[in-house]
């Protein structure tokens, strides 16, 4: 990664062009998310649905099916992308992410347990349960990882993946006992933006906003955290406080994303790598780029998922899992971790 080590040199002109490009790409992705699917609509249909809604099939599909996912997908993607950046710096580990550290799985277990066993059905309650599950899991994984004086990056990931496997097994138990339909179960377990009510987005985006705000405050400490512990302490970073802040921030972001869409795999692994490639190691730039890239990636993956097994729809998490698995292999082969 050293060739991209432009930390601290803020090339504003180039960066702004980059952000503008990403934002433009995101707009195109959002538009295609509204237009493409089982039925393909024209921009004219979209315009009429927005201005002169007449209750026709096209207008209902656009308003009730396409619009919610075009809103939820980018929010989830941005949240997971930023969470990934923070986790990779926090764990000083390029293959850390909400998935590889089991945080996604912890959040989904909490959501399933809260809704199936405790009867929680409010959006706020589910988001809160999800964030709590994410928080407890990150604490658990980092606690295990910090025993024996810190584990190697790969070992932390193995701990995370193993715990994720256990949580997935438990989610399956809860869902089978509650007699969820199999295809529902498959969709939930792999994450999907389809058929999520729009209220989820309003509830979840509050948590995402809180998490992003925390991330902004964590920019400077995160830059310092990239050095080793001793240097960071000399530079005046309150390590314990920063770590706690990072974990809470990641839990809010991951928890909200999982509450909205289920565990969408490996977004938090792929996006930070793309962001670092684009803007280098400065965390302010990285987080901004990760938010845009994450939103773009999730939206595009969501559109692709509609066509992989057309006319049926694949869970978007399966699409991102293939991409993420391949990236993981590439990173391992390069010994990036």
């Amino acid at each position: 990664m050293s060739s991209f080590a432009t930390a601290g040199t803020w090339k504003s002109a180039r960066d702004w062009r980059l952000y503008a490009g990403l934002a433009a790409a995101l707009c195109v992705a959002l538009l295609s998310s509204l237009l493409f699917g089982y039925r393909i609509y024209t921009p004219a249909d979209l315009w009429q649905a927005a201005t002169a809604f007449d209750g026709s099939e096209a207008h209902i599909v656009i308003r009730d099916h396409r619009l919610p996912r075009a809103i939820i997908a980018p929010i989830c993607g941005a949240a997971l992308g930023v969470a990934g950046v923070i986790m990779q710096t926090l764990a000083r580990n390029r293959i850390a992410s909400p998935d590889t550290l089991g945080v996604n799985a912890g959040a989904s277990l909490a959501v399933v347990a809260a809704s199936a066993l405790l009867g929680v059905d409010s959006i706020a309650g589910l988001s809160l349960a999800s964030a709590t599950g994410a928080l407890l899991t990150s604490l658990l994984v980092f606690a295990i990882a910090s025993t024996a004086g810190g584990l190697s990056p790969l070992r932390i990931v193995l701990v995370g993946v193993t715990i994720a496997g256990l949580f997935h097994a438990l989610v399956e138990v809860v869902l089978t006992v509650r007699e969820a339909e199999l295809d529902q179960l498959l969709f939930w377990l792999s994450g999907a933006f389809v058929d999520r009510p729009l209220v989820l987005a309003t509830g979840g985006s509050l948590f995402v906003a809180a998490g992003l705000l925390m991330a902004v405050f964590l920019v400077r400490p995160l830059d310092i955290m990239q050095t080793d512990d001793a240097t960071a302490r000399t530079l005046g970073a309150p390590l314990g406080l920063v770590r706690a802040g990072c974990i809470v921030c990641v839990s809010l972001l991951t928890g909200a994303a999982v509450a909205m869409a289920g565990p969408v795999a490996f977004v938090g692994l792929v996006v930070p790598h793309a962001a670092r490639r684009l803007v280098g190691l400065n965390h302010g730039a990285q987080i901004a780029a990760a938010a845009l890239c994450g939103a773009l990636y999730a939206t595009v993956a969501d559109v692709i998922a509609r066509f992989v097994i057309y006319p049926l729809e694949a869970p978007v998490g399966a699409v991102t899992a293939v991409v993420g698995g391949v990236l993981l292999i590439v990173l391992l082969r390069r010994r990036a971790a």
Binding site: I95, I144, T147, A148, L151, S152, L154, R155, V157, L158, V159, V161, T162, I163, G165, L166, A169, L170, E172, V173, T176, V177, E179, L182, D183, L185, L186, S190, A265, F266, V308, I309, L312, E313, A314, P315, G317, A318, V319, A321, V322, G324, G325, V326, L328, I329, L332, R333, R335, A337
Partner: protein, 352 residues
């Protein structure tokens, strides 16, 4: 290999140790028989164990015969065969990679086999959801998937394969891709395929019939005999390359053969049961802990322990969740996760 080093010291006192090993194998066999009888006895109605034994020995009432032979024994039989086969596969992998964290689950073999079966079900079903070729071919599909997956893991990891941890990471990555592909394909098929395939999500031994049991039996037994036949060479296989060549064994070829055997055992074991995690990790470990380095008793002990674990896990889910069919793989995951984490922490010295 901390267990290995202190066992190596006792190697020159082989005789009493070997006798002890066979004694332990006998105890495990007795335990397996008890679990099997309990497994048949427990169900929606409790059958007294003596009635079960009577039926199995060829007598007993007609009603009991029906319950035992038609409903319960196939399920228990498949658990015994599959659990045992996965455990032996794990033993082979741990032995030949000299990696005590290796198992069919983490090297991508399970998910590869699953993908093979899903593709088989998707390709060879007609519009009315019936298979167009005999179901006997299903293990072949599982085998192809398993072999391709383990080959992918080793080819991709290249010279990093010697690091236990790195090898596992490649296994996890390959497994993630295979699992995602499986998930997509499961949704493509009509509902028959999906429910057939559902066993693959977590591993489950319900709804097994005698045809499936006989297919598994007919493939597991020859494979096990093959394992025992080559067991003489397994012992030196955990030496380093140079010493092995010194005793005239072509290690690369032998290794590939053992990988193939392990993949085959896993494939037939899981092709009707599904991806049961951690049995392939825990059973061989315990076997080596109990009987030491002697290969033949360790293979048999692995088989017995695997059989006990899967039958026991199925017994537990039936006792806890009946009438809902929770996959037995859940129990093995709950027990296996802490065990795997313990191994991971303990072996911090040999860092990746």
């Amino acid at each position: 290999m901390s267990a290995g080093s202190h066992l190596a010291k006792s190697d020159h006192v082989t005789r009493p140790r070997e006798t002890l090993a066979w004694g332990i194998v006998a105890v495990l066999a007795a335990l397996a028989v008890v679990i099997v009888i309990l497994g048949i006895a427990l169900g929606s109605t409790w059958l007294a164990p003596e009635k079960v034994v009577a039926v199995l020995l060829g007598s007993g009432e007609r009603k009991d015969q029906l319950i035992v032979l038609q409903l319960r024994t196939p399920r228990v039989a498949i658990a015994v065969l599959s659990g045992g086969a996965i455990a032996v596969a794990g033993y082979l992998l741990q032995k030949v990679t000299r990696n005590s964290l290796a198992s069919p689950g983490v090297l991508g073999v399970l998910d590869g086999a699953a993908l093979g079966v899903i593709i088989f079900l998707a390709v060879f079903s007609n519009e009315s959801n019936a298979l167009v070729i005999p179901i006997q071919w299903q293990p072949v599909a599982a085998l192809i998937g398993a072999v391709l997956a383990i080959a992918a893991v080793f080819i991709l990891s290249g010279n990093q394969a010697s690091s236990a941890i790195r090898l596992l990471m490649f296994g996890i990555a390959v497994a993630a891709v295979a699992k995602a592909a499986t998930m997509i394909l499961m949704l493509v098929g009509p509902i028959y395929r999906t429910t057939q395939a559902a066993r693959w999500i977590a591993g489950s031994v319900n709804e097994i019939n005698w045809t499936e049991v006989s297919i598994v039996f007919a493939s597991v037994v020859p494979l096990l005999l093959l394992v025992l036949a080559i067991s003489r060479h397994l012992r030196p296989a955990d030496l380093d390359e140079v010493s092995v060549r010194g005793i005239g064994l072509n290690l690369p070829v032998f290794r590939i053969f053992v990988f193939f055997l392990a993949a085959a055992l896993t494939a037939v074991a899981v092709c009707f049961v599904g991806a049961v995690g951690f049995v392939g990790l825990m059973a061989p470990h315990m076997a080596r802990m109990l009987v030491g380095r002697a290969v033949v008793p360790a293979v048999i002990a692995s088989f017995l322990l695997g059989a006990i674990m899967l039958t026991g896990a199925d017994l537990i889910v039936r006792a806890l969740f009946a009438p809902t069919e929770v996959p037995a793989g859940t129990v093995t995951a709950v027990v296996g996760t802490p065990y795997f984490l313990y191994l991971l922490m303990r072996k911090e010295k040999t860092s990746g």
